[in-house]
Subunit: 251 residues, 2 copies
C-alpha cells in the first residue's frame, strides 16, 4: 500500500517542524555570538568561514538554474544571484559581507581569497552546492527553505551584535538588514513551489530530507567553528589563525 | 619564467613532509584513543563514523578506475577494491571493520546502515570521493598517498588498543593487521606513479595540494568526532547517541 501524501497545511507544518528542531539558531555558537560572549577572534573566525558559504550561494543558484528548463522558474530564481552578486551599481550581499569583515578588523581581500577557511567549512558548503547540482529540482528547492527560519535569526543577530559589539553599526550590519527584505520574497516563492510539486508521500519525504540535509550543512559549520576557535581552540592545519589577515589599521 | 620541477628525491621528500606535518596521527583524538583514554562510547562513535570512510573507499576506487583508459593501471588498482570488499571467499576490510564494531558492543547491521554517521563525516568523506571523480588522475593518485603514513598509525593503534581495551583481540584487530600487509604494496605503486607523472613544477604543486586535501579529509573527521563525543559532548542532530545501535548481548 502506498502512503497518502499529507495535506498542504500538514506538509508545511512538517517542514516548519524541521526548522524548529534543527535550524542553527539552536546552536550554542549563535547564543554565544548574539549574547556578546564571543571574543573578537571568534567573531573573525565566524566572518572568515561564513564568507565561504556566502560566496558559494550564487554558484549554487546558478547550478540550479542550469538544470531548469522552464524560463519562468529561472526568471523567478535569478534575483537570488543578483541579490548576492549585485546588479546595476547596487552592491550585493557578498560585498556587504566584506564590509562586515572590514568592521571586525579583517582585510577584505584576505577574506575574499578564502585562504583561511577551515576544510570542514568547505566540505559542508561544497556538499550543498553539489546537492543542488545533482538531486531533483524539488529537493534543490526544498533545501533552500532554511530561509523560512532565517528572518528570526537575522533579527536576533542585528539586535545582539548592535548591543554587544563596538564593530556593529549600520554599515557592518547591512548584510543582515538587507536579507530581512530579500529572504521572505525568495522563500515565499520556494515554499509555494515545494508545496505545489511535492504531490506524493514519496516526494514529501524527499523534500523533508532535503531540508534536513540543509540544516546539517549549517549546523556542521558552527560545530567546526566552535571546535576550532572557542577555547580550548583546536585550529586545524591551514585554517585562519588569530593575527592573520588583519587590515592595516587593525594590525 | 616557469619554475623547474624538483628532483624525484626532493619531491618525494616534499610529499613526506606533508605527512609529517598534517597526517591525522598528530590529532589529539588519536593520542586519546591509543593511550587508552577513550570511553567505550567514544570508541563506539569512532567505529560508527570511521565505518563510513571505509565504506566509501571502494566507491572512490571504482570512480578512479571509471576514468582510467589504461588497462594496466586499472589492473594495478583493482586489488584495492578486492581488499575492501573481499573476493573468492576471502573477507574484505569492510567485513573486518564490522567485526571491530561487534567487539565494541555495536550491532554490525546498525553500523553498516550508516544511519548514525555525523553529517560532518559524510561531508568530508563525500568530498574525497568527489575529488577522485573530478580531479586529474595525478591528483587522484596523489590523494591516496596518505597510505605512506598509515603503517605507523596502524602499528601504534594495534599496540595501543591491545594494551588498553578489553575488546581488542586478534579478531577485532584484524582490520588493522591486514592493512599493515596491504597498504605498503598499494602505496609503493601509487608513489612511483606520482613521481613518474608529476614531471613539471605545476604538476608537483597539484599533487602536493591533493595530498594536503586528503590530510584535511582525515583531520576533519577526527575534529568532528572530538567535538561531538569527547566531553562536553555536542552531538549534532541525527547522529549516533550512546545507547543506540548496540548488539543484543551488549544492550
Amino acid at each position: 500500500m502506498t502512503a497518502l501524501p499529507l495535506s498542504r497545511e500538514a506538509f508545511e507544518a512538517r517542514l516548519r517542524q524541521i526548522g524548529a528542531e534543527r535550524y542553527h539558531d539552536r546552536h550554542p555558537f549563535h547564543h554565544r555570538l548574539h549574547g556578546g560572549d564571543c571574543t573578537p577572534d571568534e567573531v573573525r573566525a565566524w566572518v572568515v568561514n561564513r564568507y565561504y558559504y556566502q560566496s558559494r550561494i550564487p554558484m549554487k543558484d546558478a547550478a540550479f538554474m542550469s538544470r531548469v528548463e522552464d524560463p519562468a522558474l529561472r526568471r523567478a530564481w535569478r534575483s537570488r544571484i543578483e541579490d548576492h552578486d549585485g546588479a546595476d551599481g547596487r552592491e550585493g550581499g557578498i560585498a556587504r559581507w566584506l564590509k562586515l569583515a572590514e568592521a571586525v578588523g579583517l582585510d577584505p581581500a584576505y577574506v575574499a581569497s578564502a585562504r583561511g577557511v577551515m576544510p570542514a567549512t568547505r566540505f559542508a558548503v561544497d556538499a550543498y552546492v553539489r546537492f543542488v547540482r545533482e538531486k531533483t529540482l524539488l529537493e534543490a528547492v526544498a533545501s533552500s527553505l532554511t530561509e523560512l527560519f532565517a528572518p528570526r535569526i537575522h533579527a536576533e543577530r542585528i539586535e545582539g551584535l548592535l548591543r554587544h559589539y563596538a564593530f556593529a553599526d549600520d554599515i557592518s550590519m547591512s548584510y543582515f538588514r538587507k536579507r530581512l527584505d530579500e529572504a521572505p520574497k525568495d522563500v515565499a516563492f520556494g515554499l509555494a513551489w515545494v508545496l505545489d510539486h511535492a504531490d506524493t508521500a514519496e516526494k514529501q519525504d524527499a523534500a523533508a530530507a532535503a531540508l534536513e540535509f540543509k540544516t546539517d550543512v549549517l549546523w556542521a559549520q558552527l560545530d567546526a567553528l566552535w571546535h576550532g576557535y572557542v577555547a580550548p581552540a583546536r585550529i586545524p592545519p591551514g585554517a585562519w589563525r588569530p593575527g592573520e589577515g588583519l587590515r592595516a589599521q587593525a594590525a
